[in-house]
Every structure is written in structure tokens, then in C-alpha cells.
Amino acid sequence: MIKFFLMVNKQGQTRLSKYYEHVEINKRTLLETEVIKSCLSRSNEQCSFIEFKDFKLIYRQYAALFIVVGVNDTENEMAIYEFIHNFVEVLDEYFSRVSELDIMFNLDKVHIILDEMVLNGCIVETNRARILAPLLILDKMSES
């Protein structure tokens, strides 16, 4: 089960955070700083899976942005690793070559996409076309 999904940049600013298990608001910032600290201290040659307290962190770096997913023991780490890449590809298609600014200015759309892909900690949809379909309809409606 996915516990949380974070997008944090190299300066430690959280660009997106989604928690699938309840964490107190004040504890969230603490958690995020710790997580990003452990991810930033890793070099390129080290593996992408970290054991952190009682769950596992799987992170992937895209330019200046770190995508970190926290899972519990039952998940397959490599599948989640693949899933992160899948997510980024979906974003890529929607925003045509996504950058950090896109995420910052369209946070609601990114949330919608993430909600389409992950529901309550479980992966529900990975097909790009199907994920983006409702969003495209929404866009069309708001234009007209």
C-alpha cells in the first residue's frame, strides 16, 4: 500500500504531497524534511530504495525534482519504481514536456491525474489514454 507520494525539489520545497494514510499536519513537514534529507544525501551510484523508519522509500530524480513514494512492506519496490516513471510520462504527455513550473502552476490538474492513477494507496490505472481522458473532457468544457 502506498503511504504517501511526494514531489520535492532540490532546495527542499515540496511541490506536491499526497498522503494515503493519515498523518498530522504538523508532522508532515517534519516527515518531508527528513525524507528529502535522506534522498539528497544519496549519490548517483546508490540504489533508489531506502529503509526509513517502518516503511520503505522509493525515489527517482528528474532534473531538479525528486519524486518520493513511501510504501509499506508488502509492495514490490521495482513495480513502484516503474510506476513513478509511468506517472512522469503521463505528465509529460499532458503538459508536453513537463517542467517544475508546470507542476507549480497547474497543481490541481496534477492532483487530478494522480487521483486517477492511485486510489487509496493502490494503483488503479496505468494506461495513459484512459488517465487523461476525463481531464481532456474537463479542459474542453472549460474552454467552451
Binding site: E45, Q46, C47, N76, A79
Partner: protein, 697 residues
């Protein structure tokens, strides 16, 4: 409505007010036909749905499960998962539709269904049995996934829908665990997946990893298990660190069941020890420790020790204790064992567990032939570095015990080491004075110095000096030791050699050597110190009966000699002549009688029973009888039977006196009575005259 839903969805903390407001609105949302709205509603429900909400809306969700539109259905399925997590009783509602949902072609719905089934199976064994029937169906689905060609919709880097594959494999693992029949149906499929998946990309590796986990968990055939372990071995050689990490992790699970298969990959595992990555090296360390057995223990220990020298600090403790444990279990020779422990102590001394010191001393003590060798090695190690506390403690103990062997200068196994007495003493003093030494270490060093006073041939001035200096040390423990040792030097010099001779081997798991020695010393010191105590404990003088306590006047033994005499029985005991009773006191109807018994087994013992009888018309209350005897005797007053002597010759009050007369001195007895009679309080003190000679002869 949509905005409200998304708003609440982004704050998954169930504040009660929002929870009450949303169910009716959610209900109306769910029953509306518009997919988008339904989707949002389901999303909200699955994230923030409380138990009550779930119960109310369960039927609605179930209806949505079977609707034609896959968009809504996939969300409904996962909402069902959330509902089951919150309210396990709802699983009854969601069980029947699952079978039908498995026939879906839509991967999103399928994925959700598999998750739902997994959740149901994890929660109840009944569901598990129910779903074992669908194993063939699952196998079929996976088969089509694997063997079908490239499908643009689902392919991720060449593998068709790896997420679905992984989920199915996980479900198969849960269903096949401990179940022969299901495992058999899965065997072919798993073999197919294992061999045919493209491993050049991460997606393929993910599927393969899940397959391996499944194979290891179910009752698979032996060939399949070997295949799985080989796949893991291949993973280990992969350059991608992520893959190596998962391989190490799964090998750790496997090593318990398939030890020999994993042994084949031992060299690769040892390679991974040298990784700069912390998570990898930790896993590699655990796996290497699990792989040590009697045939490879020397090589493995070598590797692990070189790892210990360079590893990050948080792994050191684990590594050190792991090496020590492995050495204990598989040590080929005692000498090798001692060497290994020594090396661990020099490299990572501060991180070893506390009982390592005790184990090592026990080990050395037991290996008689290696005493000279170990003391030399320890001496040279100590001479180089006195900062590692466990090492210093063991070395100090050894030097103390086997100091004479150290100075002899002949030992075949190490290079000849000429050690002067002065050097040894200087080293121990250095340890004592160093600020790096813990109090325990100082204690060891001081004791070692003392032991050397008997082992070394020179005179002991230097040692005496040190010991007397520490007599005023601020540390109470050290001070006590120093004073005791001082006493040994001054008053009990004749006992010193006996006390400080070599320790006998202590039982494994018994008290520590240090403790045992402490006890031994403490006993002797206590006995020695008692006569030097000031006259604090006043011996009960025959003419002094001022203390009101129930007279258990027990003078402490005047010397050890008397104690010894008490316990030996060389005397021929006289025939127990019955001694006549003696009436000692009479006043206003209250009589006091003494009866004497001398038990034959203990000639020094005299038992006196004091009986108080009241023949007057009034009761005697608060009756207390106390006794006193001369200094050389030992008196013990037992509790009286009561403190009221009833009138008119009622039940008498008795009290037992035990008198020990080791010197066979003439018995003199003084009694003191206090009681109330006829409304007056009476106190009487008198000496018992006319005691029969037999009472003390």
C-alpha cells in the same frame, strides 16, 4: 458539488462535521448518472470515508460495481477496498461480485478487482478458501498477458501491463501458500513467466522479482525453486543497484529454507559488502552472516573483518557481534577463536556487546595451553593502544592472572618478547591514570596490579604505593578496593598469596569472573575488618539492660576462632541427663519456672523454657521477660507464647531461650520481668542462682 468533493479529498483527516455533511450529498452524487461526478464522489469516499459513511453507502457502491461504464467501476472497486478496511463486515456484500468482475477485459477494473480479492483473502480465511477456486482463471489471465504480443494500450517498456502482472502474481502467492493443489496449477505458468520475461528493462525485472517471491512462498517443485535462486543470482550480478538490492533482500528470505542453493552465490554476496551504498552493504552483511558455516568460516571471517575496518559506524555493532557469534559457533581451533576476538576488539572495541569481555576471559581461562600466547598478544595490543575499553579490560585481567608467564620470556607461538617487570607495572599504571579508562576498567587494572604483587619476584613497593594512593580516590568503588588491598598488604600479608592465586574456571553463564573474585575477596575482607570496627555494636553487658527491644542480645563473634569452634563437633556428647526444673521467681501468685534441655547433638547448646503461671485472682497482662548472659555466651530469645498470664492457674505463658556456650564457662543468667498485676505495673530484675551444673558443663 465537485469542488466540495475535491476539497475534502485533499484533507484526509476525518473531522466530524464534514463527515456528517457529506453522506447525503455523496449519496445523491453516487446515484446520479454522470460519470465524472460519480467518480469524484467515489474518490472522496475512498479517501475520507469513515466507518458510518461506509456502512450507509455500501449498497450504492455495490450497484456501481456492476454498471457498464468501466471508468466508474474501477473506482467503485477500490472504494470497496477502502470500505472493507474500515468495516470488515462489509466483505460479505462485496464477495459475490468479484467472480463476475474477473471476467473483465478492462485492465483498470481487473487491477482493482485483484486488489479487492487480495484484501478479502488477507482478512478472512473463509474468503481465501472461496477464492482458491478462481486460481485457474487467474492463471489464464496472466497467461494471455504474458504470451500476447505487443499491445499498445498496456505495454510499458515492452512488457504488457506489468502492474497487473505483479498484482496477479501477488494474489497467486497468497492463494498458493500452503496449498498443494493451487501451487501445482501455477507451476507451469510461473516457469513460463520466469523464462520469458524481458529483463533488459526495469519493468521486466519487476515482474521477475515478484515471480521469484511467489515461487519461494508457495509449494513449488524443486526445479522451480532452483530456477528462482538462479534468477536472484543473476540479479546480483546486474550492474543496476536497485536490482541488486532486491536480490539481496529476497536471498535473505530464501536462505533459511534453501541454504545450499544460496551458498553458491556466496562470492557475489561478499562482493556486495564492498559497496559504498549503505542499504546494500547492510543487506549484504546480514546475508553474509547468515551464510557462514563451518567450511567457509575462515574465509568469511577474513572478509567480514576487513569490512569491519571500513564500514559505516551504524553497522559496526552488528558486524562485530555477528563475527563474534559466528566465531563462537564455528571456531576451528581455540587459538583461531582467540585471535579473531582479539582482532575484533582492536578494530571495533567500543561497539562490541558487554558480554564479549566475559566470554573472552572465560575462553582464555579454559584454554590452558594458550595462556602464555594470549597474555603476550594482549600485552602487545595493550602497549599499542589503551583506548578500546573491552580490550583493555581483558588485557588487564590476563596480565594479572598470567603475569608470571608473560615475564618468563619463552613462548614458541609468538616472537620472543622481553618484558621487564617495571614495564608491565608502568603500563598498568598508565591504564589506571588515563582519562579514557572507564571506572570498570580502572577496577580491573587495580586488581591486576594486586595479583601481580604475588606473581612478580621483585619487591612490591611500587604496587603498595599505587594502592595506597588510590585509597583516597573519589570513585567509591576504587576506593573500597584500594583500602581492602591495603589491608591485605598490612595486616593480612600471610593470606595475600592464597587470596590472589589463580582463578578457577568459572561456569559458563555463571557470574562474571570479576564478580566471583569480588565475592571471595569481600568475604575475607569482611571477616578481617570486623575486629577493627570501633565498639559501635555494644555487647550486652550483664549489668546493662537499658534497651527495650525484646532482648535478643546477640554479641557478634569475637574472633573467627569462635565461629570455627561453633561448627566443629569433636566433643563426645555426654548422655543427655535430664536436668531438674528450677523455680526462680514468685510474687503475688505469679511464678516463673525454668526447665533445661541440652540436646545431645550440640553440646554447646542449652535450651531453657521459661514458664510463667498465675495462681492469683487477677490476670497478669503485658508480660515481658528479658534475659542477659555473660559476654562469652550467645543468647537467643524466641517469641513468647503470649503476653497475658490468665488468673487461677490458666494457660501458662512460655518462652524459649537458646543459649550457646562454646567455652563451657559457668552459666550466669539474669532475668528482667515487666508486667501489670492488680492494676499496678511491676518491674523485677534478678539473677538466677543455683543453676544446675549440668546446664553448662
Amino acid at each position: 458539488m465537485g469542488t466540495l468533493c475535491t476539497g475534502t479529498a485533499s484533507w484526509p483527516n476525518c473531522s466530524t462535521s464534514t463527515c456528517w455533511a457529506t453522506p447525503p450529498t455523496l449519496d445523491s452524487d453516487l446515484s446520479q448518472g454522470i460519470h465524472a461526478v460519480q467518480g469524484l464522489a467515489l474518490c472522496t469516499l475512498s479517501t475520507v470515508g469513515s466507518a458510518d459513511m461506509c456502512r450507509d453507502l455500501a449498497t450504492e457502491v455495490e450497484k456501481l460495481l456492476l454498471q457498464p461504464g468501466p471508468y466508474v467501476r474501477k473506482k467503485a472497486v477500490l472504494t470497496a477496498v477502502h470500505m472493507i478496511r474500515k468495516v470488515p463486515e462489509l466483505s460479505n456484500i462485496f464477495l459475490p461480485p468479484c467472480a463476475q468482475l474477473l471476467h473483465e477485459r478492462h485492465h483498470g477494473v481487473l487491477l482493482g478487482t485483484i486488489t479487492l480479492i487480495t484484501e478479502l483473502c488477507e482478512r478472512s480465511p473463509a474468503a481465501l478458501k472461496h477464492f482458491r477456486k478462481v486460481v485457474p482463471q487467474l492463471v489464464q489471465i496472466l497467461w494471455t498477458l504474458v504470451t500476447s504480443g505487443y499491445s499498445a494500450e498496456h505495454s510499458i517498456s515492452g512488457v504488457s501491463d506489468p502492474f497487473l502482472q505483479v498484482q496477479i502474481l501477488r494474489l497467486l502467492r497468497i492463494l498458493g501458500r500452503n496449498h498443494e493443489e493451487s501451487s501445482e496449477t501455477m507451476n507451469d505458468l510461473l516457469a513460463q513467466v520466469a523464462t520469458n520475461t524481458d529483463t533488459s528493462r526495469n519493468a521486466g525485472n519487476a515482474v521477475l522479482f515478484e515471480t521469484v517471491l511467489t515461487i519461494m512462498d508457495i509449494r513449488s517443485v524443486a526445479g522451480l525453486r532452483v530456477l528462482a535462486v538462479n534468477i536472484l543470482g543473476r540479479f546480483l550480478l546486474n550492474s543496476d543497484r536497485n536490482i541488486r538490492y532486491v536480490a539481496l533482500m529476497s536471498l535473505l528470505h530464501v536462505v533459511q529454507s534453501d541454504h545450499s542453493a544460496v551458498q553458491r552465490h556466496r562470492p557475489t554476496v561478499v562482493e556486495c559488502l564492498r559497496e559504498p551504498d549503505a542499504s546494500l552493504s547492510r543487506r549484504a552483511l546480514q546475508l553474509s552472516l547468515a551464510l557462514v558455516n563451518s567450511s567457509n568460516v575462515r574465509a568469511m571471517t577474513q572478509e567480514l573483518q576487513s569490512f569491519l575496518e571500513s564500514c559505516p559506524p551504524d553497522l559496526r555493532a552488528d558486524c562485530a557481534s555477528g563475527i563474534l557469534l559466528a566465531a563462537e559457533r564455528f571456531a576451528p581451533t581455540k587459538r583461531w577463536h582467540i585471535d579473531t576476538i582479539l582482532r575484533v576488539l582492536t578494530t571495533a572495541g567500543t561497539h562490541v556487546r558487554d558480554d564479549a569481555v566475559a566470554n573472552l576471559t572465560q575462553l582464555i581461562g579454559g584454554a590452558q595451553e594458550l595462556h602464555a600466547y594470549s597474555v603476550r598478544r594482549l600485552y602487545s595490543a595493550l602497549a599499542e593502544d589503551i583506548s578500546q575499553q573491552p580490550l583493555v579490560q581483558v588485557a588487564a585481567w590476563c596480565i594479572g592472572e598470567y603475569g608470571d608467564l608473560l615475564l618468563e620470556g619463552s613462548c614458541e607461538e609468538t616472537e620472543p618478547l622481553q618484558v621487564e617487570e617495571e614495564e608491565v607495572l608502568a603500563l598498568l599504571e598508565k591504564v589506571l591514570q588515563s582519562h579514557m579508562s572507564l571506572p570498570a576498567t580502572r577496577g580491573y587494572a587495580l586488581t591486576a596490579l594486586m595479583k601481580l604483587s604475588t606473581r612478580l619476584r621483585g619487591d612490591n613497593n611500587r604496587i603498595r604505593q599505587v594502592v595506597s594512593v588510590y585509597g583516597s580516590c573519589l570513585d567509591v568503588e576504587l576506593q573500597q578496593r584500594a583500602i581492602e588491598y591495603n589491608a591485605l598488604f598490612q595486616k593480612y600479608d600471610y593470606m595475600r598469596a592464597a587470596i590472589l592465586e589463580k582463578m578457577p574456571l568459572v561456569e559458563r553463564g555463571g557470574t562474571q569472573d570479576e564478580e566471583a573474585k569480588e565475592n571471595k575477596e569481600a568475604q575475607h575482607s569482611e571477616a578481617a575488618l570486623v575486629p577493627t570496627e570501633p565498639q559501635a555494636s555494644k555487647l550486652l553487658d550483664l549489668l546493662d539492660l537499658l534497651d527495650g527491644t525484646s532482648g535478643a542480645a546477640q554479641p557478634p563473634p569475637s574472633s573467627e576462632g569462635s565461629l570455627v569452634h561453633l561448627l566443629d563437633l569433636p566433643y563426645v556428647s555426654p548422655a543427655p541427663a535430664s536436668i531438674p526444673n528450677l523455680k526462680v521467681f514468685e510474687r503475688e501468685g505469679l511464678q516463673l519456672n525454668l526447665s533445661f534441655v541440652r540436646p545431645p547433638g550440640t553440646p554447646a547448646l542449652l535450651l531453657i523454657t521459661v514458664t510463667a503461671i498465675n495462681t492469683s485472682g487477677a490476670d497478669v497482662t503485658h508480660f515481658v521477660c528479658q534475659a542477659a548472659v555473660p559476654k562469652s555466651f550467645q543468647l537467643q530469645l524466641q517469641a513468647p507464647s503470649g503476653d497475658t498470664v490468665p488468673a487461677q492457674g490458666g494457660l501458662p505463658v512460655t518462652q524459649l531461650l537458646r543459649i550457646l556456650n562454646p567455652n563451657k564457662a559457668p552459666l550466669r543468667l539474669k532475668l528482667r520481668l515487666t508486667y501489670n498485676h492488680f492494676g499496678q505495673s511491676v518491674q523485677e530484675i534478678f539473677e538466677v542462682n543455683n543453676l544446675p551444673v549440668d546446664t553448662w558443663q
